[in-house]
């Protein structure tokens, strides 16, 4: 009759105690696990990375112009218009333009005129950004969208 009870390895009191302990531990652990997600932002408070450049005829072939405040270089060539990010791919400093291309003030990465990595610790070349035109024909750069190097927007 009491076969099942006899095979029980622990006393009822111990079982209830342990069950209570583990329930508490799992509840607290689960709650903590939920809370440690808090520091990971689910929404990033950033301004839009898209900005207007202006009319295409402001950038005749041959111009290259740094857009103030955006850290973007706009290059216009016969084959079209391209935008290069001036943020160094190494550790995020702003590269400056020189005769040979670009150089980074922080750790000496050097890039050629097309943003290809020439020397230094940067893991890759400068980012090329998407250029497009709005309905009114004005150019738009989307600094959040990277395109393949050598992509020119034909007006």
């Amino acid at each position: 009759m009491s076969g099942r009870l006899e095979s029980e390895p622990i006393a009822r009191r111990d079982f209830l105690g342990l069950a209570g302990l583990w329930t508490t531990a799992i509840a607290i652990g689960g709650a903590l696990l939920g809370m440690v997600r808090l520091p990971k932002p689910s929404v990033l408070p950033e301004a839009s990375r898209r900005f207007r450049l202006g009319r295409p005829d402001e950038f005749p072939p041959g111009t290259s112009k740094v857009i103030a405040g955006q850290n973007v270089l706009v290059v216009s060539k016969p084959q079209g218009i391209a935008a290069l990010s001036l943020v160094c791919t190494h550790l995020g400093c702003i590269v400056s333009k020189n005769e040979a291309g670009f150089s980074c003030p922080c750790h000496g990465s050097a890039f050629d005129g097309d943003g290809r990595i020439v020397a230094g610790p940067a893991p890759r070349g400068l980012r090329w950004l998407q250029v497009s035109a709005a309905v009114d024909g004005r150019l738009i750069v989307n600094a959040g969208n990277e395109v393949d190097p050598g992509t020119y927007y034909r007006v």
């Binding site: 932002p41 950033e46 750790h107 230094g120 610790p121």
Partner: protein, 515 residues
């Protein structure tokens, strides 16, 4: 005739100062051995000390007071930090102005800020020296392995405190140092990009976002760094320092030569020189005072070689504390903490240099962010932490370099370490590196084979060679530790003095191009 109520009151009033004192201090004037012991162990703040201190532990060369100096700096930083918090506003639009207010308007604000800055620098120096002292005197050995780990934790928290404090002024220096630091946290992307798995597995992006609360350094980053700097890290530091002190006591006090130790940190259980305990004596108290033998916390004190901690140890600690205050205040009067222009996300400082103790790291980072900023520091930290567990030889603690052989190995390792570090800097400066030689080389090679990782490998090889030659893990540990100290010194010096705009090499700042 009984006294009147007024008379009783007057009598109590007269006795008020005495009763106040007696309720506060529960022992006689600390002139006898007994009352001096009581002065220490009946006081919450003093009872982390043993009641008696070994004369060898009091010698200047035993510790140079470095641990107490680090604690002193921490106390100075707490006090000045709280004062700075009165005016500092952790917001991107107010932070810089409030720093200027503190510096130029607030009464004595300038001095408080300078002292805060200088004692922070002093603390980093002292913590590094303290670590060297503990290592070279073999004071990490059984039973002190765990306290070595706690010390490593304190070292890391110290550096984290400096790093988080660096952003708060919100000037150019702060902004770009933190941009670089946050991108180092994000540098595992270098590897995941090469392997093409960033879209699925992006630990770099995750840790960077966790640190900054955004993708760029902005208000969220400032909020987080402020929280870490004034709350999380100081609390962690205080907790760790408590454990550190407690373990010093539990591990048998400062290591010193000629002390027989067991794994439990206890010395010989009974010392025949001590008088035995009268049967009716309150065992615990007299035992703690180390006046008689009996049940005591880890002690094996030879009674005639110890002095009461009050006043001898406390006086020594006070001297160290005052020296730290003096040094910080004098430096704070002589030299101002820097405050550059307001942070400008469009124009980086050129050169953008981290504080001096991170410049060795920055030199490594200038070869590869992922290797130099994360992997090599991780190897160094893990390697340092494992030293007491991999070197199990029972050299007596408290002997510098563990004797003549150790001194010779340390000297040779210093030479090797300096030479290797100089080469690691000089070769890329003069001849370029992989990318200059093979322009189309895979990025994986650039990450893995750089002067920093080669230097680390050379140090490991040197240590293994020492181990093979001497068959002593202690000597191999001395070789490795000395090499890393040499590497740290050389790369820090190069980063500080020989790097100019674009991180180019210049022998002197006067050679920097004018701009």
């Amino acid at each position: 005739m009984s006294k009147s109520g007024i008379a009783i009151f007057a009598e109590n009033l007269r006795a008020l100062p005495r009763h106040l004192r007696e309720s506060f201090v529960r022992h006689d004037r600390p002139v006898s051995a007994r009352s001096r012991s009581q002065a220490v162990f009946s006081n919450l703040f003093l009872h982390i000390h043993a009641t008696r201190t070994h004369l060898q532990s009091l010698r200047l060369t035993a510790t140079f007071g470095l641990g107490i100096a680090a604690t002193s700096c921490f106390i100075i930083l707490l006090v000045t930090g709280v004062l700075l918090m009165v005016y500092y506003a952790p917001s991107t639009s107010l932070a810089y102005d409030s720093m200027k207010d503190i510096h130029f308007v607030v009464p004595s604000g300038r001095l408080v800020r300078n002292v805060h800055r200088w004692s922070a620098h002093l603390m980093v120096v002292v913590v590094i020296l303290h670590m060297c002292r503990v290592f070279y005197t073999a004071s990490y050995k059984t039973p002190r392995e765990f306290n070595w780990l706690v010390g490593m934790g304190l070292f890391i928290v110290t550096l984290a405190l400096s790093f988080t404090g660096y952003l708060l002024p919100w000037d150019q220096l702060a902004f770009w140092a933190i941009t670089i630091g946050a991108n180092i946290a994000g540098s595992p992307r270098e590897l995941t990009d090469v392997l093409g798995i960033t879209a699925y597995f992006d630990p770099g992006g995750f840790s960077k976002q966790l640190l900054l609360g955004a993708n760029e350094v902005g208000q969220d980053a400032l909020t987080r760094f402020y929280l870490l700097h004034v709350m999380v890290l100081p609390l962690a530091f205080a907790a760790l320092i408590g454990v550190h002190f407690w373990r010093i006591r539990k591990d048998g006090g400062l290591g010193r030569p000629g002390i027989a130790q067991t794994a439990a940190g206890k010395g010989a259980d009974t010392d025949p020189n001590l008088p035995t305990l009268p049967a009716d004596a309150p065992t615990k108290t007299y035992g703690l005072m180390c006046v008689v033998a009996g049940k005591t916390a880890a002690t094996d004190l030879e009674i005639d070689e110890t002095v009461p901690s009050w006043p001898h140890l406390l006086r020594a600690e006070l001297v160290v504390f005052m020296a730290c205050v003096f040094l910080s205040v004098v430096l704070g009067i002589v030299a101002d903490a820097p405050l550059k222009e307001l942070a400008n996300p469009n124009i980086p400082e050129n050169p953008a240099k981290a504080p001096w103790y991170f410049l060795g790291l920055q030199e490594m980072v200038s070869y590869s962010a992922f290797m130099g900023g994360l992997i090599i520091p991780a190897i160094v930290v893990v390697g340092l932490g494992l030293i007491p567990y991999l070197d199990r030889e029972d050299d007596p603690p408290g002997v510098y370099f563990s004797g003549r052989n150790g001194r010779a190995v340390a000297l040779k390792s210093l030479l090797f370490g300096v030479t290797a570090a100089v080469l690691a800097v000089a070769v890329p400066v003069n001849f370029g590196w992989l990318r200059n030689w093979f322009p189309d080389i895979s990025q994986l090679w650039v990450i893995l084979v750089n002067p920093g990782s080669l230097l680390t490998a050379a140090y490991a090889a040197w240590s293994i060679r020492t181990l093979q030659k001497t068959r002593s893990t202690r000597l191999a540990a001395i070789a490795l530790f000395t090499c890393f100290v040499a590497g740290f010194l050389i790369t820090t010096y190069v980063g500080m003095n020989l790097r100019g705009p674009n991180w180019d090499f210049y022998w002197s700042q006067s050679d920097w191009p004018a701009h």
